[in-house]
């Protein structure tokens, strides 16, 4: 019996030991050892794309100076109105220029009267020069009215001969400067604004606005009477050379004709209303 017990006990002991060893080895198997693995796919690394080049913005080309513009109480242009030699006949080459002049006149309705003034150099007979400059100014006026549709009531013409030279007549260059046609603002609507300045805030407030006609240049006969195309005689003394252009030049300072505004009033420029 005892031996049986012992056998049984021994058997139990052995089986228990085997179980524990198995457990221990299981634990040891989970601890330690190596797991080998490889990435399922490669990581893709794309370089950061370089910043898109800034769009090339075309630099706006500086606006060319207008061919014709109303400035300082006159119509300014760099070119010359071309006349046939010793005649008051405008060459077709000047049609485009006269068209642009007409456009400026039309776009500035505040200009009520424009004086077209012809000038000559001192070369030749003074009387003849005066007549020719007058006729040329009239020819220009006529062209603007008939071909460009400018209101004749807004235009007047006169000729000064060599009376108002802008350069001494001592060289051909200077004489050329004196041969010219000018467009002077004779009358214009001027808007006068009476402004009060707040002494504390310094803010300006318009108290009164009024528009009044301002006479800058005395004009002679009305345009309708003066506008007749005239062709000068070729027998007369040559006041102008063949193909002689009449150059627009600096107008006499119209500023002198400006009325002095009251101390509290701000007169706008005669040419453009100040808003």
């Amino acid at each position: 019996m005892l031996s049986r017990f012992r056998n049984c006990n021994l058997h139990s002991l052995v089986s228990t030991s085997l179980g524990v060893i198995a457990l221990s080895s299981l634990g040891l198997a989970g601890c330690g050892g190596v797991t080998t693995f490889a990435g399922s796919s490669a990581f893709a690394i794309a370089a950061t794309p370089p910043p898109a080049p800034a769009p090339v913005v075309a630099k706006p080309e500086p606006k060319p100076a207008p061919r014709v513009e109303l400035r300082d109480n006159k119509i300014e242009f760099k070119e010359k109105i071309q006349f046939e030699a010793n005649k008051a006949v405008i060459k077709p080459a000047s049609d485009a220029l006269l068209h642009d002049i007409a456009e400026v006149i039309k776009k500035n309705p505040q200009v009520k009267k424009l004086s077209i003034e012809g000038h000559a150099s001192a070369e030749g007979d003074a009387k003849r020069n005066k007549t020719l400059s007058e006729q040329r100014a009239k020819a220009v006026l006529e062209h603007l009215v008939k071909k460009e549709g400018v209101d004749g009531a807004r235009l007047a013409s006169r000729g000064w001969g060599s009376e108002k030279g802008i350069a001494p007549n001592d060289s051909e260059d200077n004489r050329e400067k004196n041969r010219r046609v000018e467009f002077l603002v004779a009358e214009a609507d001027v808007t006068v604004k009476k402004v009060e300045i707040d002494p504390t805030s310094g803010k300006e407030s318009i108290v009164e606005t009024k528009t009044e006609a301002l006479k800058l240049v005395d004009t002679p006969a009305p345009a309708s009477n003066a506008a007749k195309p005239v062709e000068s005689s070729s027998k007369a003394a040559p006041a102008a050379k063949a193909g002689e252009p009449a150059k627009a030049a600096a107008a006499p300072k119209a500023a002198a004709a400006k009325p002095s505004a009251p101390a509290t009033a701000k007169p706008a420029t005669p040419a453009q209303e100040k808003k």
Binding site: N9, L13, T16, S17, V20, I21, L23, S24, G27, L28, G30, C31, G32, G33, V34, T35, T36, F37, A38, G39, S40, A42, F43, A44, I45, A46, A47, T48, P49, P50
Partner: protein, 130 residues
């Protein structure tokens, strides 16, 4: 005799339990956890690569590295470039090695990991001349 054996067995079990975390991942889980850790460095690797391209425009290709994941902290170490499987210049490969060394997976695994991973680097296309 029986009690002696029992005590010895229990002690053996306790010792094995203490020395081992038992967080033993399957190879797939080990790979996925490691891959996730590596992916967290992709932005840094890209930045490094962008820098390389400044001095070596057009540098690109594959980089394959072998490494170990240690069991104590789950840290990636012993990173080595597999030159046979690497086509990218050394500077590009360095972008990988220096960025992934020291990464760790959590929790650490009971078993050492031996991983092999690859990165494909692509340089931007040069603008076509027309």
């Amino acid at each position: 005799m029986k009690s002696i054996l029992s005590v010895a067995m229990i002690a053996g079990c306790i010792s094995s339990a203490v020395g081992c975390s038992y967080a033993a991942r399957s190879p797939e889980n080990y790979r996925d956890d490691t891959q996730a850790a590596l992916a967290s460095k992709n932005d840094a690797i890209r930045a490094c690569y962008d820098g390389v391209l400044k001095s070596a425009p057009g540098a690109q290709g594959a980089v394959t590295v072998n490494f170990e994941v240690e069991t104590e902290h789950g840290t990636i170490g012993k990173v080595e470039v597999d030159k046979a499987a690497t086509t990218a210049p050394e500077a590009v490969a360095e972008c990988v090695t220096k960025n992934i060394a020291g990464l760790a997976i959590a929790p650490p695994d009971a078993r050492t990991g031996q991983g092999t991973f690859s990165w494909n680097f692509a340089a931007p296309k040069a603008p076509s001349k027309s």
